[in-house]
Amino acid sequence: MNIEMRDIYKAFATNIVLKQVSFSLKSGEICALLGENGAGKSTLMNILGGVLPAESGEILLDGNPVIFHKPAESLSAGIAFIHQELNLINDLPVYENMFLGREIKKKNGLLNAEVMIRETRELFERMNLDIDPKVMVRELDASYKQIVEISRALMTNASVIIMDEPTSSLTDPEIERVFEMMRSLKKAGVGIVFISHKLKEVKTICDRFTILRDGNMVAEGAVADVTTDDLARFMVGHDIRTSALQRERKTAHEVLKVDGLTDDKNFRDISFTVRAGEVLGITGLLGDGRSELFQSIIGAGTSYSGQVYFEGKPVEIHNTTQAVDSAIGYLPRNRKENGIIKDMDILENGSIVSWPKFSKFGFINRSQQLNEFEKQVKDLHIKRERNNDPITSLSGGNQQKVVLAKWLAINPKLLILDNPTQGVDVGAKEEIYDIILNLADTGVAVIVLSSEAQEIIRVCDRALVMYHGALQGEVTGERMNEHDIMRLATGGTLN
């Protein structure tokens, strides 16, 4: 089946996610859909999969226009969508998962296990898979789970399969197993959309590529004609380069030093230092483990082995209260889930961290609280009408500044900012960069975690790039460019 999506346009409220994007896929073809986080890949595929409606544009299947209102319609047209998070039920055997929602029943209404097991086994044999249909999904490897999910898509006679980062949680041999299956599907005439950040894999398995950036289709072509560097360049786009903001400043003593930090699953063998007055960037792609690493450091994540030194002394931070007492601030990613407390007003959201500091016998000193907040409002140019308005009444940028204000109120020595400009508009973004640089000027050690290479390049003095939980490399000066960062972030090395 050939798919053509023409001039797809999609906006969430005022935020335009896809601007007249076109995409096509022929049968027996594996097409890579690439782009940075937020480029619009998932939205485009959700439209094809019937999860989201497009505002305008059309979808043609073998030349016939179709409109999908819900996932079931897309599925019955032969398009299967395998989401990044697997949709398997761990506590059911493989064969029941294969027939979930379309179970084969006997005349008396009971499940016909025999037929389901037989059909599953037949399919696995056709695909040369060695999986027992009766085994519980829980007992399978991640790669086999992925394979079961793909097989389930085949069972519905899918002729197009959309795979959203199918290899993000797999090891190399497991990835090879999935690739083998993709190759045999391709031979059978199935079209596959392969969404991935791993450019090496794209080179290995895909025939064609389509690259999205900021909701625009910026490049497409045959994978054989390009290098992974070309792909990386298309993904970040060079036409949007803006001035670097770094300032000359003297760095002082080491504020944070970590040595060989390793936890069970998110990060391993991480060592680095950051000095007072320095802005250190940490970047990488989805699943690189940087947020988990820093949440562990401030006592809000998994436990780890290795040693953390703060201001020269070995420390073990067990909880966030201790981190606050040591003057370590952490502005989390995903403001809505982790940053703001929607049942509290602007003032309270902007002062919550400093309550213990401003209280006597447990009573909050309200005038002190207000004075400090008003000072932050002035310093950070927070635009708000009344302090007791709900936090949600503010724009994203102002909300973020309020969250920042609560940390500045404790005069942090180390401030960790995780995706500090997520969901804020361009103007507020620049203001937040200024705030970061001013803080560094006053001798605060600042760590900026970001998935946007541009952001790192513009504000950080140097940057560490993570790949799958490990430090892949460090970039400074000339080497701190999107090209090299993307190379490291996709698992490559600098020569």
Binding site: T320, T321, I341, K342
Partner: protein, 346 residues
């Protein structure tokens, strides 16, 4: 045309006020209830004075009868705002009540009496031990929720069963005698009226109002209930806050137990306090507190307690059959939440 516009403006203004003042509808409901209750009481009296004293007496009865639930509801507000629930309050009340009675018993088994301690020192010791006992029982639930990572519903469902069953077992065939002076805690008359329970309720409500609005702890409870993750990442020790909430609940139940023992002078271990958990939760919910945590006020809970209390009184005055009264309680709870839901959606 212009007139319609103004009308609409007034309407939106009232609506706007309604939306921004969460206690508005609760307060309004209370006023309506009081109005209906006053009507139901009737005006067939010889004089205004006579009407007023009947009306006032009726109110004193309402407040006194609901002081226990009122006190427990204060703590329940904190628990629910923190995102939890405590089903064990009724059982804790019985356990603490039994402990106090065993201590002050003037019969042959009275613990303090056998130690040679009687009178005021005995009462003070019994009260202090009772409060500590309630504190420990609350801490137990708190530990199960934080260290044991049990859902609060399950943790307190468990402790609810344990506390009552163990109390009943140990108190089998044992009827302590509560000394008459101890009863003064609740039964001391002011101007010929039994006002003590009401006074305790008012004082505790004021204390909890201040705790919830002015203290670090009170505000942190709201933060934890509204967004636990964000609260944790803001340096709040979430586990400590949750534990303290259950401890405070336990202490308040102890105080309610003291008031109750001193009022009645005995306790039915099988039935005393049973249903208190649901009555307290109802009061809290009707008062505008969200079951999912993060939103709720002490004043709202006092209003909620009064709404249910006045409604009960109203049904009584109207002669509604006793079995039907719980149904009205159910209607009030459902209606209140439906109303609040509408407010929050717009």
């Amino acid at each position: 045309m212009e007139k319609a516009e103004t009308k609409k403006n007034i309407f939106t203004n009232i609506r706007g006020y309604w939306m921004t003042h969460p206690l508005f509808s609760t307060g309004l409901a209370l006023v309506v209830m009081i109005f209906l209750q006053t009507l139901a009481l009737g005006f067939q009296f010889d004089s205004f004075g006579q009407w007023f004293s009947t009306w006032g007496q009726n109110w004193i009865n309402i407040l006194r009868n609901n002081a226990g639930i009122g006190i427990i509801s204060l703590g329940m507000t904190l628990v629910i705002v923190s995102g939890g629930i405590d089903l064990a309050v009724g059982s804790t009340l019985v356990a603490v009540g039994a402990a106090i009675m065993v201590l002050i018993d003037t019969g042959p088994n009275g613990i303090l009496r056998n130690l040679g301690i009687t009178g005021l020192p005995a009462y003070l010791i019994a009260i202090v031990i009772g409060i500590i006992f309630g504190l420990i029982l609350g801490e137990l639930a708190g530990l199960l929720v934080t260290k044991g990572k049990l859902p609060p519903f399950i943790a307190t469902l468990g402790t609810m069963k344990i506390f009552r069953s163990v109390t009943q077992h140990f108190m089998q065939g044992y009827t302590p005698v509560v000394p008459a002076n101890f009863l003064n805690i609740s039964s001391f008359k002011i101007g010929g009226q039994l006002l003590m329970p009401i006074i305790y309720w008012v004082i505790l409500a004021a204390v909890f109002f201040v705790i919830s609005t002015r203290t670090t702890f009170g505000r942190q409870v709201i933060a934890v209930g509204s967004n636990e993750r964000a609260a944790k990442l803001s340096g709040i020790n979430v586990a400590a806050i949750k534990r303290r909430v259950y401890v405070i609940m336990g202490v308040l139940v102890s105080l309610a137990a003291i008031v109750q023992v001193a009022r009645i002078g005995s306790m039915d271990y099988a039935n005393a306090g049973s249903g208190y958990e649901m009555d307290a939760i109802s009061a809290v919910i009707v008062g505008g507190t969200s079951m999912s945590g993060g939103r709720g006020t002490i004043i709202g809970t006092v209003f909620g307690t009064l709404i249910i209390a006045v409604m009960n009184n109203l049904l009584n005055l109207l002669g509604v059959p006793p079995f039907l009264r719980e149904a009205f309680k159910g209607i009030i709870v459902i209606g209140a939440v439906l109303l609040q839901k509408k407010e929050n959606n717009s």
